[in-house]
Subunit: 472 residues, 2 copies
C-alpha cells in the first residue's frame, strides 16, 4: 500500500480502477498547463514515481509516453524526461461562452490573435510546420560559428536590404529549390510575408498603384494586411486550374501559384501562359511550396517571368514563424521604392538570425531539415485524410499533394463559422473556409496537419465530426 507521492500530491486512490495511465497522464498534463510543472522541469524517474504511487512501472511509462507523443515532454537521455511544451487546456466555463464571438461571420482586425489565444486541446490552425522538429542544436551550433567570426562593425547599423551573406544564401537556396535565378542585389530581407506586403503596398502606391487583385478564395490574413496598408483587394475567382486570369481588371495581382491558399490548386500551365502575356505586376506568395509530397516540384512563376514577378517567401513554414525572417525578390522597377519602405519601416532586420539562417542554408542543414519535415508531414497528412475518410465520409478534401494543411468542404447548410465554434467547444481549433472567401463559398474548414502527431489529428477530426453531427 502506497502513501501517495509528494510530487504534485498525487494519490492513486483518486484514480479510477481502470485507466491508471490515463489518469496519471491527465494529472501531469493539467500540472503542466497550469504551470505547477514548468517547461524545463524534470519528471520523477518512472521507477520512483511508480513506487510512490504503488502502481506498476508500466503505468508511469505509458503516461510519460502519451505526453511525449503529444509533444509536452521529451526524453533527454540521462537527464530523464523533461517538460518541453505547455498544452493549451480548455479553461472550464470560460471559452464556452465566447467561442461564437471568436468566429464572427466578419472577422475583426485581431481575429488571428484572438483565435491564437483561445484555449484548445488540439490546434488545427493552418500555416505552422512541425515545430517540435525545430533544429535547436544545429541553430545553436550555427549561432556559435556566427558569433565567433562576426566582426564588430557587423553589430552596428547595417544595410536595410539585409545582411549580404543571407542575401547571397537566399539566391542559392531559391536557385536550388525553386529554379529562380537572382542576384543578391535583387533580394530584400524582410521579417516575413506580413512585412513584405506592407513594404509592397507602400512601393506600389509610390508607383500610383492602389489596387491589387487577390485570389478568391484566398488568404484572409494577406487581404487584411494589404487593406490596412491602403490597397484595395478586388477578388478574382479561382477554379480547378487556379486563378481565372481572364477576369483580371487591375495592374497588379497577388497569386499563390504552387499551392493556392486555401484550395490547394496548382496554377495550370495555360493560366501561367495567360499571366505571362497579361503584362501587370505579379506578386508571387510562395508560402509553402517547399512542402510537396506526391507530385513533381512546380517551379516558381518568378523562374519563368523574372521581370514581371515580385517573389515573396519566408522560413515560417520551413523552420518557424517565430524567426520572422523572409525575403522579397523584387523586379528592378520597384526595387528602390521597396528599399526605401524597408529603411523607414525598421532600418533593416535583426542581424544574428539572418546570419545563422545563412549558415544553415549554406551548410545544407536547412535542406536536411526540409527532408525530415517532408517525411514527417506526409505521414501526418495521410493520417488526417484517413481520419476524414473514417469520420467525415461526406466531406470533400482539397489540396493534399503539397503544403501543411488541407481544406475540407461539406455538403450542408450549416455555416462553417458555427461549425468552427462548435469544434472549439469540443476543444479543437480550426479556421472556417468562409473567412478566406470574399464571395459566398461552400462551407468548409482549413485544417493544418503538420503541427500535430497522427493520434492527435485523428482525435481532432473525430471531434469535428461530432460537432458537425450536433449541428446537423
Amino acid at each position: 500500500m502506497s502513501t501517495g507521492s509528494d510530487f504534485l500530491l498525487l494519490d492513486a486512490a483518486d484514480a479510477p480502477a481502470r485507466g491508471l495511465a490515463d489518469w496519471l497522464a491527465a494529472r501531469l498534463r493539467a500540472a503542466i498547463a497550469d504551470r505547477r510543472l514548468s517547461v524545463g522541469e524534470r519528471l520523477p524517474a518512472t521507477r520512483v514515481l511508480a513506487a510512490e504511487l504503488g502502481v506498476s512501472r508500466g503505468v508511469v511509462t505509458e503516461a510519460y509516453r502519451r505526453l511525449a507523443e503529444e509533444g509536452h515532454v521529451a526524453g533527454r537521455g540521462r537527464a530523464g524526461t523533461v517538460v518541453v511544451a505547455v498544452p493549451a487546456l480548455p479553461i472550464p466555463g470560460r471559452h464556452t461562452s465566447t467561442t461564437k464571438a471568436i468566429f464572427p461571420r466578419t472577422p475583426g482586425a485581431d481575429v488571428f490573435d484572438v483565435l491564437r489565444e483561445a484555449p484548445a486541446r488540439i490546434d488545427l490552425s493552418p500555416g505552422v510546420p512541425d515545430l517540435t522538429a525545430f533544429p535547436r542544436a544545429a541553430w545553436l551550433r550555427a549561432e556559435r560559428a556566427v558569433l565567433t567570426r562576426l566582426s564588430s562593425p557587423d553589430f552596428g547599423y547595417g544595410d536595410p536590404r539585409g545582411a549580404p551573406a543571407l542575401r547571397t544564401a537566399i539566391t542559392r537556396w531559391l536557385a536550388r529549390t525553386r529554379g529562380i535565378v537572382a542576384e543578391p542585389t535583387d533580394v530584400v530581407v524582410v521579417t516575413g510575408v506580413a512585412q513584405a506586403l506592407a513594404l509592397l503596398a507602400e512601393a506600389l502606391q509610390a508607383h500610383d498603384i492602389h489596387e491589387i487583385a487577390v485570389e478568391d478564395p484566398g488568404s484572409l490574413g494577406v487581404r487584411r494586411h494589404l487593406n490596412h496598408h491602403g490597397m484595395a483587394t478586388p477578388p478574382v475567382p479561382v477554379d480547378d486550374l487556379g486563378l481565372q486570369v481572364a477576369e483580371l481588371r487591375t495592374d497588379a495581382v497577388l497569386v499563390t501559384p504552387a499551392h493556392q491558399f486555401p484550395t490547394g490548386v496548382v496554377l495550370a500551365p495555360e493560366r501561367r501562359r495567360e499571366l505571362a502575356t497579361w503584362g501587370g505586376l505579379i506578386v508571387e506568395d510562395d508560402y509553402d511550396a517547399e512542402h510537396r509530397y506526391d507530385r513533381p516540384p512546380v517551379p516558381a512563376l518568378k523562374a519563368t517571368l523574372p521581370d514581371q514577378v515580385c517573389y515573396a517567401g519566408s522560413v515560417s513554414k520551413l523552420l518557424a514563424p517565430a524567426l520572422r525572417t523572409g525575403w522579397l525578390v523584387v523586379p528592378e522597377r520597384y526595387r528602390e521604392a521597396v528599399v526605401v519602405a524597408k529603411r523607414f519601416a525598421d532600418l533593416g532586420s535583426t542581424a544574428l538570425p539572418q546570419l545563422v539562417l545563412a549558415e544553415l542554408m549554406d551548410s545544407g542543414e536547412l535542406e536536411r531539415h526540409l527532408r525530415l519535415l517532408r517525411r514527417r508531414h506526409v505521414r501526418r497528412r495521410d493520417a488526417m485524410t484517413r481520419a476524414i475518410a473514417d469520420h467525415l465520409p461526406g466531406a470533400r478534401v482539397h489540396g493534399v499533394a503539397a503544403g501543411l494543411y488541407l481544406t475540407v468542404t461539406f455538403d450542408t447548410d450549416v455555416p462553417d463559422t458555427a461549425l468552427a465554434a462548435a469544434a472549439l467547444d469540443l476543444g479543437v481549433k480550426a479556421q472556417p473556409l468562409s473567412w478566406h472567401a470574399q464571395r459566398p463559398t461552400r462551407p468548409g474548414l482549413v485544417l493544418g496537419y503538420a503541427a500535430n502527431p497522427a493520434t492527435v489529428l485523428a482525435e481532432g477530426i473525430a471531434a469535428i465530426a461530432k460537432a458537425l453531427h450536433q449541428l446537423g
Copy 2:
C-alpha cells in the same frame, strides 16, 4: 638573411629601416581590408612569422598588439590570433571625388546609408557603443538556455506586443535603471526606435494628430522617419535649459530630456514642470540615458508623468544596433492603436533575440555589461576632449556628461558640411551639426567617441583640425 614570408608575400626588405612594426601592421591592416585575410582567419604564430621575415619576434608581437588595440584581431588563447573585424580603409582615387556629394546641405532619404557605406579610416559617427565589447559568450550561453527550455508553441506565431518574458524583464529593467513603474501590458516590443516612430506615427494619425513638434536642433533621423510616415515636425528651439516648452503649438512633442540630441543639454526642472502642465502627448526618446558619467542619473520623464508620456528605448546603444530590439511604454489611450500598427507592420518581433535579451536582463548580465561600457566610454570621452583641447583650441564642446558622443561648435564661417567633407577626404567620418538643425545654427560636428580606442580618437580629431585649417 630571410627569404620573406609566403604569408601575404611579405618581404621585410620593403620595410623602412625604422618602424618595422608600423610597416607590418599596415600590411596586415590592408590585407584584412581588401579581404585577402578574412574574418575568422588565423594569423601565423609570432615566432614563425618573425623567423620568415628575419625580424625580431618583438616586431611581430607589436604589430599584432596594435591591430588588437584597433579591434581588428583578437587573441583566442591556444587558437592563436584571429581576424575579428575589417577596417574601412580609404579606397584611393574613389571617395575623393564623391565626399562633397556625401555631405549635401540638404541630405537625401538615404543619407545615413550613403555615409555608412563611404570608406573611411576612422568612423566618428555618433550613436554606436563600443561594439568590440558585445558580450558574445554571455549571449550564446543565454541563447542555449533559451533554446533548451523553449516550448514548441513558442516557435509559432506569437503575441504582436512581444514575448511576455521580455515585456516583464523590460518593466523590471526600466524600474531599476530609469525609475519607471509600468506593467508588462503597457509594453510593446519593437525593432528599435525607428519602428517605434513608424508605429507612433500611425497611432497618432488614428487619433487625428498629424503634427509632432521636435527639438531644434534635433535628430535628423528621427525627423526623417516621422516625415516619411506622414507626420509634420515643426521645430521648437532648444536652449541651455532644453526644449523651450512655452513655444509649443502642437498636441504632441518628441523630446530627448535626459541628454538632448545633439546638444547634450539636460531638460531643466522648470521645463519639466512646464511640460507637466502643458497637457499634450510627450514622446520621450530615451536613446542613451543609461550612459552617464559625471552626474547623478536623471529620471525618465515617464517616471513622473506616466499618463502623458509615451516612452521609447532600445538596446542599440546598450548592446548593439544590429539586434534591432527596443520598446515602447504606451499610455492607455494610444495602446490599442500602437498594437494594431505593430500587428500589421510585422506580426511581432523575432522571438529568439527577445528571449535571450530577457535572460540577460533578468540575470544581471546586462547591468554588468553597462558598467563595463561606462568605464570604457568615460576613458574614451576623456581622450576625445583632451584631443579637442590640444588640436581644436577654438572649438566649444557640448554635452560631455553623458551619452556616446559630444558636439563641437566652431567660431568660423566655413559650412560644417564642407568641413565634414574635408575630414572624410582625410579618412575621418563625422556628422555635420547642420544636418540636425531645421533653423540656421553655428557650424559644428557631432562626434561619437564610444566606438573607438583613445589613440584612434586622437588621430581623428587631429585630422579634423587639419581639415579645418585647410578650409580656413
